[in-house]
Symmetry: C2
Subunit: 223 residues, 2 copies
Protein backbone atom coordinates (compact mmCIF):
# COMPACT_ATOMS: atom_id res chain seq x y z
CA UNK A 1 0.00 0.00 0.00
CA UNK A 2 1.15 3.50 -0.68
CA UNK A 3 2.31 5.56 2.23
CA UNK A 4 1.07 8.72 0.56
CA UNK A 5 -2.58 8.36 -0.37
CA UNK A 6 -5.15 10.02 1.84
CA UNK A 7 -7.37 7.62 3.81
CA UNK A 8 -10.79 6.92 2.38
CA UNK A 9 -13.73 8.25 4.34
CA UNK A 10 -14.60 4.66 5.26
CA UNK A 11 -11.42 4.04 7.22
CA UNK A 12 -10.73 7.52 8.49
CA UNK A 13 -10.59 7.71 12.29
CA UNK A 14 -13.29 10.26 13.11
CA UNK A 15 -13.35 10.21 16.89
CA UNK A 16 -10.06 11.37 18.41
CA UNK A 17 -8.44 11.77 14.97
CA UNK A 18 -5.00 12.22 16.54
CA UNK A 19 -5.10 8.46 17.24
CA UNK A 20 -5.47 7.60 13.53
CA UNK A 21 -2.60 6.39 11.33
CA UNK A 22 -2.72 5.50 7.64
CA UNK A 23 0.85 4.66 6.68
CA UNK A 24 1.78 1.14 5.69
CA UNK A 25 4.64 1.00 8.19
CA UNK A 26 2.37 1.55 11.17
CA UNK A 27 -0.34 -0.78 9.91
CA UNK A 28 2.07 -3.58 8.98
CA UNK A 29 3.84 -3.29 12.35
CA UNK A 30 0.53 -3.91 14.16
CA UNK A 31 -0.37 -6.82 11.87
CA UNK A 32 3.05 -8.40 12.49
CA UNK A 33 2.60 -8.35 16.28
CA UNK A 34 0.03 -11.13 16.35
CA UNK A 35 -1.81 -13.71 14.24
CA UNK A 36 -5.39 -13.45 15.49
CA UNK A 37 -7.87 -11.25 13.68
CA UNK A 38 -11.61 -10.77 13.75
CA UNK A 39 -13.22 -11.10 10.33
CA UNK A 40 -16.49 -9.31 9.65
CA UNK A 41 -18.78 -10.21 6.77
CA UNK A 42 -22.48 -9.97 5.99
CA UNK A 43 -24.93 -12.77 5.16
CA UNK A 44 -28.56 -11.83 4.47
CA UNK A 45 -28.03 -8.42 6.04
CA UNK A 46 -26.68 -9.87 9.28
CA UNK A 47 -23.04 -9.09 10.18
CA UNK A 48 -20.91 -11.91 11.58
CA UNK A 49 -17.60 -11.47 13.37
CA UNK A 50 -15.42 -14.56 13.57
CA UNK A 51 -11.94 -14.88 15.13
CA UNK A 52 -9.34 -16.62 12.99
CA UNK A 53 -5.60 -16.80 12.33
CA UNK A 54 -3.89 -14.88 9.54
CA UNK A 55 -0.53 -14.21 7.98
CA UNK A 56 0.81 -11.11 6.24
CA UNK A 57 3.08 -11.12 3.20
CA UNK A 58 3.80 -7.63 1.90
CA UNK A 59 0.49 -5.96 1.06
CA UNK A 60 -1.47 -9.20 1.25
CA UNK A 61 -3.26 -10.66 4.24
CA UNK A 62 -3.99 -14.38 4.02
CA UNK A 63 -6.61 -16.26 6.00
CA UNK A 64 -7.54 -19.89 5.70
CA UNK A 65 -10.08 -22.36 6.90
CA UNK A 66 -12.10 -25.38 6.03
CA UNK A 67 -13.40 -25.32 2.48
CA UNK A 68 -16.74 -26.25 4.07
CA UNK A 69 -16.89 -23.32 6.49
CA UNK A 70 -19.67 -20.77 6.18
CA UNK A 71 -17.20 -17.93 6.55
CA UNK A 72 -14.80 -19.16 3.89
CA UNK A 73 -17.60 -19.93 1.46
CA UNK A 74 -19.21 -16.54 2.02
CA UNK A 75 -15.96 -14.64 1.60
CA UNK A 76 -14.84 -16.60 -1.45
CA UNK A 77 -17.99 -15.32 -3.14
CA UNK A 78 -16.38 -11.89 -3.23
CA UNK A 79 -18.35 -10.11 -0.54
CA UNK A 80 -17.15 -7.04 1.36
CA UNK A 81 -15.03 -7.90 4.36
CA UNK A 82 -13.53 -6.09 7.36
CA UNK A 83 -10.51 -7.58 9.12
CA UNK A 84 -9.66 -6.09 12.50
CA UNK A 85 -6.57 -6.80 14.60
CA UNK A 86 -6.43 -5.55 18.18
CA UNK A 87 -3.57 -5.52 20.67
CA UNK A 88 -4.64 -4.55 24.18
CA UNK A 89 -1.70 -2.95 25.96
CA UNK A 90 -3.31 -1.93 29.22
CA UNK A 91 -5.90 -0.04 31.19
CA UNK A 92 -5.82 3.73 31.44
CA UNK A 93 -6.95 4.45 34.98
CA UNK A 94 -8.00 8.10 34.95
CA UNK A 95 -9.18 10.20 37.87
CA UNK A 96 -12.58 10.45 36.18
CA UNK A 97 -14.47 7.47 34.84
CA UNK A 98 -15.21 9.52 31.72
CA UNK A 99 -11.53 9.68 30.76
CA UNK A 100 -10.75 6.12 31.83
CA UNK A 101 -9.74 4.17 28.75
CA UNK A 102 -7.46 1.51 27.35
CA UNK A 103 -4.09 1.64 25.66
CA UNK A 104 -4.24 -0.35 22.45
CA UNK A 105 -3.01 -0.72 18.91
CA UNK A 106 -5.59 -1.75 16.35
CA UNK A 107 -5.77 -2.03 12.58
CA UNK A 108 -8.86 -2.19 10.38
CA UNK A 109 -8.68 -3.39 6.77
CA UNK A 110 -11.62 -3.14 4.37
CA UNK A 111 -11.86 -4.87 1.03
CA UNK A 112 -12.96 -7.91 -0.87
CA UNK A 113 -11.15 -11.19 -0.41
CA UNK A 114 -10.30 -13.47 -3.34
CA UNK A 115 -9.83 -17.20 -3.13
CA UNK A 116 -6.28 -18.35 -3.78
CA UNK A 117 -6.63 -21.18 -6.28
CA UNK A 118 -3.15 -21.44 -7.74
CA UNK A 119 -1.40 -24.36 -6.04
CA UNK A 120 1.97 -22.65 -5.59
CA UNK A 121 0.46 -19.49 -4.13
CA UNK A 122 -1.81 -21.57 -1.91
CA UNK A 123 1.04 -23.48 -0.31
CA UNK A 124 2.98 -20.22 0.00
CA UNK A 125 0.00 -18.62 1.76
CA UNK A 126 -0.36 -21.55 4.16
CA UNK A 127 3.32 -21.26 4.99
CA UNK A 128 2.94 -17.50 5.60
CA UNK A 129 0.02 -18.14 7.98
CA UNK A 130 1.82 -20.98 9.79
CA UNK A 131 5.01 -18.97 10.18
CA UNK A 132 3.09 -16.01 11.59
CA UNK A 133 1.41 -18.22 14.21
CA UNK A 134 4.29 -20.62 14.95
CA UNK A 135 7.54 -19.16 13.55
CA UNK A 136 9.93 -22.02 12.77
CA UNK A 137 7.30 -24.74 12.77
CA UNK A 138 6.67 -25.26 9.04
CA UNK A 139 9.86 -27.19 8.35
CA UNK A 140 9.47 -29.43 11.42
CA UNK A 141 5.86 -30.45 11.04
CA UNK A 142 4.23 -32.87 8.62
CA UNK A 143 3.25 -30.68 5.68
CA UNK A 144 -0.19 -30.72 4.03
CA UNK A 145 -0.95 -33.57 1.66
CA UNK A 146 -3.13 -33.33 -1.43
CA UNK A 147 -6.33 -34.24 0.39
CA UNK A 148 -5.68 -31.68 3.12
CA UNK A 149 -4.92 -29.01 0.53
CA UNK A 150 -8.29 -29.72 -1.09
CA UNK A 151 -10.08 -29.47 2.25
CA UNK A 152 -8.51 -26.07 2.95
CA UNK A 153 -9.57 -22.76 1.45
CA UNK A 154 -7.21 -19.82 1.41
CA UNK A 155 -8.30 -16.24 0.90
CA UNK A 156 -6.19 -13.21 0.07
CA UNK A 157 -7.12 -9.65 1.04
CA UNK A 158 -5.18 -6.70 -0.28
CA UNK A 159 -4.08 -4.32 2.49
CA UNK A 160 -4.94 -1.10 0.67
CA UNK A 161 -7.91 0.52 2.39
CA UNK A 162 -6.79 0.39 6.00
CA UNK A 163 -6.21 2.42 9.11
CA UNK A 164 -4.62 2.01 12.50
CA UNK A 165 -5.72 3.51 15.80
CA UNK A 166 -3.30 3.74 18.68
CA UNK A 167 -3.53 5.05 22.23
CA UNK A 168 -0.46 5.19 24.44
CA UNK A 169 0.58 7.03 27.56
CA UNK A 170 -0.95 8.13 30.86
CA UNK A 171 -4.51 9.33 31.46
CA UNK A 172 -5.61 12.73 30.19
CA UNK A 173 -7.94 14.12 32.80
CA UNK A 174 -9.86 17.37 33.00
CA UNK A 175 -7.62 20.13 34.29
CA UNK A 176 -9.49 20.57 37.58
CA UNK A 177 -9.45 16.82 38.29
CA UNK A 178 -5.65 16.83 38.71
CA UNK A 179 -6.29 18.36 42.14
CA UNK A 180 -8.35 15.37 43.31
CA UNK A 181 -6.68 12.93 45.74
CA UNK A 182 -7.30 9.95 43.43
CA UNK A 183 -4.63 7.52 42.26
CA UNK A 184 -4.33 7.46 38.46
CA UNK A 185 -2.04 5.79 35.98
CA UNK A 186 -1.71 2.70 33.84
CA UNK A 187 -2.21 -0.99 34.43
CA UNK A 188 -0.15 -2.81 31.77
CA UNK A 189 -1.59 -5.98 30.24
CA UNK A 190 0.47 -8.32 28.14
CA UNK A 191 0.22 -11.77 26.63
CA UNK A 192 2.82 -14.23 27.82
CA UNK A 193 3.64 -17.73 26.62
CA UNK A 194 3.94 -20.50 29.19
CA UNK A 195 6.20 -23.53 28.92
CA UNK A 196 5.42 -25.99 26.14
CA UNK A 197 3.24 -28.88 27.40
CA UNK A 198 3.98 -32.18 25.66
CA UNK A 199 1.12 -34.22 24.19
CA UNK A 200 0.60 -37.15 26.62
CA UNK A 201 0.67 -39.46 23.58
CA UNK A 202 4.33 -38.61 22.79
CA UNK A 203 7.12 -41.08 23.56
CA UNK A 204 9.06 -39.70 26.58
CA UNK A 205 12.28 -39.21 24.60
CA UNK A 206 10.51 -36.81 22.22
CA UNK A 207 8.25 -35.27 24.89
CA UNK A 208 11.18 -33.94 26.89
CA UNK A 209 12.66 -32.03 23.95
CA UNK A 210 10.26 -29.26 22.88
CA UNK A 211 11.67 -27.25 19.99
CA UNK A 212 13.60 -24.09 20.81
CA UNK A 213 11.18 -21.91 18.83
CA UNK A 214 8.44 -22.87 21.28
CA UNK A 215 10.61 -22.42 24.38
CA UNK A 216 11.51 -18.88 23.25
CA UNK A 217 8.15 -18.07 21.67
CA UNK A 218 7.51 -14.33 21.15
CA UNK A 219 3.95 -13.77 22.35
CA UNK A 220 1.46 -11.54 20.52
CA UNK A 221 1.97 -7.86 21.29
CA UNK A 222 5.65 -8.20 22.20
CA UNK A 223 7.15 -9.32 18.91
Amino acid sequence: MSTKTAPTDRVQVKRLPERGHYDAGTIHAILDQTFLCHVGFVVDGQPYVIPTGYGRDGDTLYIHGSAASRMLRSLAGGVAVCVTVTLLDGLVVARSLFHSSMNYRSAVILGTACEVKDGAEKIHALRVIAEQIFPGRWDDARQPNEQEMKATSVLALEISEASAKIRTGPPKDEKEDYELPIWAGLLPLRVTAGSPEADPALPPAIAKEPPQYLKSYAAPGSR
Copy 2:
Protein backbone atom coordinates in the same frame (compact mmCIF):
# COMPACT_ATOMS: atom_id res chain seq x y z
CA MET B 1 -31.57 -16.40 27.93
CA SER B 2 -33.19 -19.78 28.15
CA THR B 3 -30.96 -22.76 28.60
CA LYS B 4 -33.38 -24.94 26.69
CA THR B 5 -34.14 -23.39 23.32
CA ALA B 6 -32.43 -24.84 20.29
CA PRO B 7 -29.86 -22.54 18.65
CA THR B 8 -31.01 -20.63 15.60
CA ASP B 9 -29.42 -21.60 12.32
CA ARG B 10 -27.59 -18.27 12.34
CA VAL B 11 -25.58 -19.03 15.47
CA GLN B 12 -25.26 -22.78 15.16
CA VAL B 13 -21.65 -23.96 15.03
CA LYS B 14 -21.49 -25.83 11.72
CA ARG B 15 -17.83 -26.74 11.47
CA LEU B 16 -16.70 -29.08 14.26
CA PRO B 17 -20.15 -29.00 15.90
CA GLU B 18 -18.79 -30.73 19.02
CA ARG B 19 -17.14 -27.40 19.87
CA GLY B 20 -20.49 -25.53 19.94
CA HIS B 21 -22.34 -24.59 23.13
CA TYR B 22 -25.66 -22.79 23.46
CA ASP B 23 -26.41 -22.68 27.18
CA ALA B 24 -26.45 -19.38 29.03
CA GLY B 25 -24.04 -20.66 31.68
CA THR B 26 -21.27 -21.35 29.18
CA ILE B 27 -21.85 -18.14 27.24
CA HIS B 28 -22.03 -15.92 30.33
CA ALA B 29 -18.88 -17.52 31.77
CA ILE B 30 -16.94 -16.54 28.63
CA LEU B 31 -18.38 -13.02 28.64
CA ASP B 32 -17.40 -12.59 32.29
CA GLN B 33 -13.75 -13.49 31.63
CA THR B 34 -12.92 -10.25 29.85
CA PHE B 35 -14.27 -6.83 28.87
CA LEU B 36 -13.09 -6.45 25.27
CA CYS B 37 -15.39 -7.39 22.42
CA HIS B 38 -15.40 -6.87 18.67
CA VAL B 39 -18.60 -5.28 17.42
CA GLY B 40 -19.69 -5.93 13.84
CA PHE B 41 -22.20 -3.73 12.02
CA VAL B 42 -22.97 -2.77 8.44
CA VAL B 43 -23.02 0.68 6.83
CA ASP B 44 -23.87 0.95 3.12
CA GLY B 45 -23.26 -2.78 2.69
CA GLN B 46 -19.76 -2.62 4.18
CA PRO B 47 -19.15 -4.52 7.44
CA TYR B 48 -17.09 -2.82 10.13
CA VAL B 49 -15.51 -4.56 13.11
CA ILE B 50 -14.53 -2.30 15.99
CA PRO B 51 -12.98 -3.31 19.34
CA THR B 52 -14.62 -1.84 22.41
CA GLY B 53 -15.26 -2.47 26.10
CA TYR B 54 -18.47 -3.99 27.42
CA GLY B 55 -20.19 -5.09 30.60
CA ARG B 56 -22.71 -7.88 31.20
CA ASP B 57 -25.65 -7.69 33.56
CA GLY B 58 -27.84 -10.79 33.44
CA ASP B 59 -29.04 -11.26 29.88
CA THR B 60 -27.99 -7.78 28.80
CA LEU B 61 -24.70 -6.72 27.28
CA TYR B 62 -23.93 -3.01 27.52
CA ILE B 63 -21.50 -1.08 25.35
CA HIS B 64 -20.82 2.63 25.40
CA GLY B 65 -18.99 5.28 23.51
CA SER B 66 -19.02 8.85 22.38
CA ALA B 67 -22.46 10.03 21.33
CA ALA B 68 -20.64 11.38 18.25
CA SER B 69 -19.06 8.07 17.21
CA ARG B 70 -19.99 6.50 13.91
CA MET B 71 -20.41 3.10 15.54
CA LEU B 72 -22.69 4.29 18.32
CA ARG B 73 -24.80 6.38 15.96
CA SER B 74 -25.13 3.49 13.49
CA LEU B 75 -26.07 0.99 16.17
CA ALA B 76 -28.50 3.30 17.93
CA GLY B 77 -30.42 3.36 14.65
CA GLY B 78 -31.44 -0.24 15.34
CA VAL B 79 -29.28 -2.08 12.84
CA ALA B 80 -28.27 -5.72 13.10
CA VAL B 81 -25.16 -6.25 15.19
CA CYS B 82 -22.78 -9.09 16.01
CA VAL B 83 -20.72 -8.95 19.19
CA THR B 84 -17.84 -11.42 19.45
CA VAL B 85 -15.67 -12.10 22.48
CA THR B 86 -12.54 -14.23 22.10
CA LEU B 87 -10.18 -15.64 24.71
CA LEU B 88 -7.04 -17.16 23.23
CA ASP B 89 -5.76 -19.88 25.54
CA GLY B 90 -2.87 -21.24 23.54
CA LEU B 91 -1.43 -22.83 20.45
CA VAL B 92 -2.16 -26.42 19.54
CA VAL B 93 1.08 -27.70 18.07
CA ALA B 94 0.10 -30.80 16.12
CA ARG B 95 2.38 -33.20 14.28
CA SER B 96 0.73 -32.09 11.04
CA LEU B 97 0.23 -28.47 10.05
CA PHE B 98 -3.30 -29.40 9.00
CA HIS B 99 -4.32 -30.27 12.56
CA SER B 100 -2.35 -27.44 14.17
CA SER B 101 -4.83 -25.11 15.79
CA MET B 102 -5.52 -22.87 18.77
CA ASN B 103 -7.23 -23.44 22.09
CA TYR B 104 -9.80 -20.73 22.64
CA ARG B 105 -13.14 -19.80 24.12
CA SER B 106 -15.32 -17.52 22.04
CA ALA B 107 -18.87 -16.23 22.15
CA VAL B 108 -20.93 -14.72 19.34
CA ILE B 109 -24.10 -12.72 20.03
CA LEU B 110 -26.45 -11.57 17.27
CA GLY B 111 -29.22 -9.05 17.68
CA THR B 112 -30.23 -5.44 17.50
CA ALA B 113 -28.97 -2.97 20.05
CA CYS B 114 -31.19 -0.31 21.63
CA GLU B 115 -30.03 2.97 23.01
CA VAL B 116 -30.38 3.28 26.79
CA LYS B 117 -32.07 6.65 27.30
CA ASP B 118 -33.44 6.34 30.82
CA GLY B 119 -31.05 8.18 33.15
CA ALA B 120 -31.10 5.60 35.93
CA GLU B 121 -30.51 2.66 33.58
CA LYS B 122 -27.79 4.63 31.79
CA ILE B 123 -25.79 5.25 34.95
CA HIS B 124 -26.35 1.62 35.97
CA ALA B 125 -25.03 0.48 32.59
CA LEU B 126 -21.94 2.67 32.85
CA ARG B 127 -21.28 1.23 36.27
CA VAL B 128 -21.66 -2.32 34.91
CA ILE B 129 -19.16 -1.57 32.12
CA ALA B 130 -16.69 0.14 34.47
CA GLU B 131 -16.89 -2.67 37.00
CA GLN B 132 -16.27 -5.29 34.32
CA ILE B 133 -13.15 -3.46 33.13
CA PHE B 134 -11.83 -2.16 36.46
CA PRO B 135 -13.61 -4.00 39.30
CA GLY B 136 -13.64 -1.78 42.38
CA ARG B 137 -12.92 1.46 40.55
CA TRP B 138 -16.37 3.05 40.30
CA ASP B 139 -16.54 4.19 43.90
CA ASP B 140 -12.98 5.58 43.91
CA ALA B 141 -13.05 7.59 40.70
CA ARG B 142 -14.73 10.87 39.90
CA GLN B 143 -18.14 9.85 38.57
CA PRO B 144 -19.68 11.21 35.36
CA ASN B 145 -21.20 14.67 35.49
CA GLU B 146 -24.23 15.80 33.50
CA GLN B 147 -22.21 17.04 30.54
CA GLU B 148 -20.23 13.77 30.36
CA MET B 149 -23.45 11.75 30.55
CA LYS B 150 -24.80 13.71 27.57
CA ALA B 151 -21.62 13.09 25.60
CA THR B 152 -21.85 9.33 26.20
CA SER B 153 -24.16 6.92 24.43
CA VAL B 154 -24.98 3.56 25.95
CA LEU B 155 -26.40 0.64 24.02
CA ALA B 156 -28.02 -2.51 25.33
CA LEU B 157 -28.00 -5.83 23.47
CA GLU B 158 -30.07 -8.76 24.66
CA ILE B 159 -28.02 -11.95 24.94
CA SER B 160 -30.62 -14.27 23.43
CA GLU B 161 -29.35 -15.43 20.03
CA ALA B 162 -25.86 -16.54 20.94
CA SER B 163 -23.39 -19.37 20.80
CA ALA B 164 -20.03 -20.28 22.24
CA LYS B 165 -17.23 -22.21 20.61
CA ILE B 166 -14.53 -23.83 22.71
CA ARG B 167 -11.44 -25.89 21.95
CA THR B 168 -9.39 -27.39 24.75
CA GLY B 169 -6.86 -30.18 25.11
CA PRO B 170 -3.94 -31.64 23.16
CA PRO B 171 -3.64 -31.96 19.38
CA LYS B 172 -5.74 -34.51 17.52
CA ASP B 173 -3.55 -35.88 14.77
CA GLU B 174 -4.16 -38.45 12.05
CA LYS B 175 -3.68 -41.93 13.43
CA GLU B 176 -0.60 -42.69 11.33
CA ASP B 177 1.06 -39.38 12.29
CA TYR B 178 1.43 -40.50 15.92
CA GLU B 179 4.36 -42.63 14.70
CA LEU B 180 6.27 -39.60 13.45
CA PRO B 181 9.25 -38.40 15.53
CA ILE B 182 7.79 -34.87 15.82
CA TRP B 183 7.27 -33.01 19.10
CA ALA B 184 3.61 -32.07 19.64
CA GLY B 185 1.63 -30.48 22.42
CA LEU B 186 0.37 -27.15 23.64
CA LEU B 187 1.90 -23.73 24.08
CA PRO B 188 -0.22 -21.90 26.68
CA LEU B 189 -0.84 -18.18 26.17
CA ARG B 190 -2.29 -16.00 28.88
CA VAL B 191 -2.84 -12.36 29.61
CA THR B 192 -1.07 -11.04 32.69
CA ALA B 193 -1.33 -7.69 34.43
CA GLY B 194 1.86 -5.84 35.29
CA SER B 195 2.38 -3.54 38.26
CA PRO B 196 0.35 -0.32 38.29
CA GLU B 197 2.35 2.60 36.84
CA ALA B 198 1.53 5.92 38.49
CA ASP B 199 0.68 8.95 36.35
CA PRO B 200 3.80 11.19 36.44
CA ALA B 201 1.47 14.10 37.27
CA LEU B 202 0.45 12.56 40.63
CA PRO B 203 1.81 13.93 43.92
CA PRO B 204 4.34 11.37 45.28
CA ALA B 205 2.25 10.58 48.35
CA ILE B 206 -0.65 9.42 46.16
CA ALA B 207 1.54 7.89 43.45
CA LYS B 208 3.09 5.37 45.82
CA GLU B 209 -0.28 3.97 46.94
CA PRO B 210 -2.00 2.29 43.95
CA PRO B 211 -5.33 0.78 44.98
CA GLN B 212 -5.39 -2.86 46.00
CA TYR B 213 -7.84 -3.76 43.20
CA LEU B 214 -5.18 -2.78 40.66
CA LYS B 215 -2.34 -4.56 42.47
CA SER B 216 -4.37 -7.80 42.50
CA TYR B 217 -6.08 -7.28 39.15
CA ALA B 218 -7.53 -10.45 37.61
CA ALA B 219 -6.47 -10.36 33.96
CA PRO B 220 -8.81 -11.32 31.09
CA GLY B 221 -9.03 -15.07 30.62
CA SER B 222 -8.10 -15.95 34.20
CA ARG B 223 -11.03 -14.47 36.13
